[in-house]
Amino acid sequence: MSALSETLQTIDRRYLYATLLIIVIVGLLVEIPLPLAVGPQARGFYDAVEQADPNKIAIVSTLWSASTQGENRPQTRVILEHLMRRKLRFALIAFGDPQSTILAQEIAEDLARAHGYEYGKQWINLGYRADIAGTLKGIVRDLNETLKQDSIRNRPLAQFEVMRGVHNIRDVGLIAEVSASGNYVSWLGLVVGSTDAPFCYAPTSVMAPELYTYIDSGQMKGMLFGIKGAAEYERLLGIRGFTSRAITPVSLALVLLFVLIGLGNYGMYASRKKGGTA
């Protein structure tokens, strides 16, 4: 028995890596059609976009680089898909990582073709800003004076049809951010208190647990819990995108981990019961 309890505790990591890789490949190829329940937070996000004021513009802020595209790219895609379905005007803005501007632009261009959205008429990219707090304080007061030009055509904002009638935060109907960091603190601290536009957040799963206190206090109207949140949103939109396929291997990998932790601890427990070394 002690040989088994010993091996259970020290499975060589190469086998673990191989098992994980196999599980992910199989999970991507063979879809296990398990229903995914749509949680209240993803529904909150969906309802906020559904009920957003059509005469006002939506701001979609992106704060992720390719390092977390596995979660943030599908989230950005489902949010923009929903905005375009509801024919809402939106403006992209990026903070944190300079790459965010182009990453969001690419997704928006791709979806704009499918929805007949024209750059400058229904949507615009306001580019990247290095300092977050100063920019957000400026946007609350005067959007054009703070941001000056768009990022793609480098022309003053007033020249774009999508920005007509948009002067400050009171002309914004929805604020959504897709982020790999804790930047919600700047929005909550400097913007959300100055408007009644709903504020929704799409963090990587790592950040999600910290946000439930803001959902409870009503400061955040909705939240997408990493890749799972994106998969729930795809179900709400009735589309089968990448996340609906990816959620299966994610689940299998989690099950694998819990099984391994169980084995490791059982091995330790069994060997300790016989006075073996822990």
């Binding site: 190469r14 890596y17 994980l20 890789l21 992910v24 490949i25 999970g27 991507l28 190829l29 390092s67 977390t68 595209q69 596995g70 979660e71 790219r73 300079p98 790459q99 501007t101 690419e106 580019g127 990247y128 800003r129 290095a130 707090a133 100063g134 304080k137 000056k148 030009q149 990022s151 480098n154 603190v185 700047s186 909550l188 601290g189 400097l190 959300v192 208190g193 990587t204 799963s205 790592v206 999600a208 647990p209 910290e210 206190t213 803001y214 409870d216 206090s217 009503g218 400061q219 819990f225 990493g226 890749i227 799972k228 990448f242 990816a246 291997p249 994610v250 990998a253 989690l254 981990l257």
Partner: protein, 218 residues
């Protein structure tokens, strides 16, 4: 216009495999692609700093619109670089001080907007009757009351754990603080599970890129 190109996909795929080789052992191929990655990322930072900010918010206003005071912003920016010298590096503390000062000044409004709504959100009635239930919450008044009591108890116990300016000899306080620390474990358990989920999603994106974009499977 197309965003990707077969040659680019090949380089990306080979780079992905080279960087994955780190899990086996640090090797020269990993180091080569890591240096290429650091260089490309730094190069992109230069492009973004100029295209997105310096050209539109500093160079154009200064040169085309005649707002000459922007020259002082260049001087402020230059002072950061004195950090690389021995004699003048104290001057970098001036520009750093300006940025720190601005951030510190915003702390008042940020703290108010971040924490006052959470204090207000913590005013939860310990006894809930039918009328006070949120529509569609699916909870009975008793259920909501128990939830509210638990919520307030956890806030009090966890906050007690983080008091340092008086000795925790009193048994009740000690018990409250220890309960607080155990309650924290629920929060950390949730973070642990979510972190694992986040990392798996990143791996799946890469494996799908290798399978679908590169090899055309699936």
């Amino acid at each position: 216009m197309e965003w990707s190109h077969p040659i680019g996909i090949w380089i990306g795929a080979i780079g992905t495999l080279a960087l994955f080789s780190l899990i086996y052992r640090e090797n020269w191929l990993y180091r080569l692609f890591e240096h290429m990655f650091i260089g490309l990322a730094a190069g992109y930072t230069i492009k973004a700093a100029w295209d997105e900010i310096l050209e539109t918010q500093w160079w154009n206003p200064m040169v085309h619109d005649g707002q000459w005071p922007w020259v002082f912003a260049l001087f402020g920016g230059f002072l950061f670089y004195t950090i690389f010298t021995k004699r003048y590096n104290w001057m970098s503390r001036i520009s750093i001080g300006v940025l720190l000062g601005f951030a510190a000044g915003q702390a008042f409004q940020a703290t108010a907007n971040l924490y006052i709504p959470q204090i207000r959100g913590s005013f939860k009635p310990l006894w809930v009757n039918e009328g006070m239930l949120r529509a569609g919450s699916g909870l009975t008044p008793l259920g909501q009351s128990l939830n509210n009591i638990l919520f307030v108890v956890i806030i009090v116990t966890v906050m007690t754990y983080f008091f340092f300016s008086f000795e925790q000899r009193n048994k009740v306080v000690q018990g409250t603080a220890r309960t607080g620390r155990l309650m924290l474990m629920f929060a950390f358990g949730a973070i642990f599970g979510s972190t694992v989920m986040a990392r798996m999603a990143l791996l799946i994106d890469r494996v799908w890129f290798l399978m679908h974009d590169w090899l055309g499977i699936g």
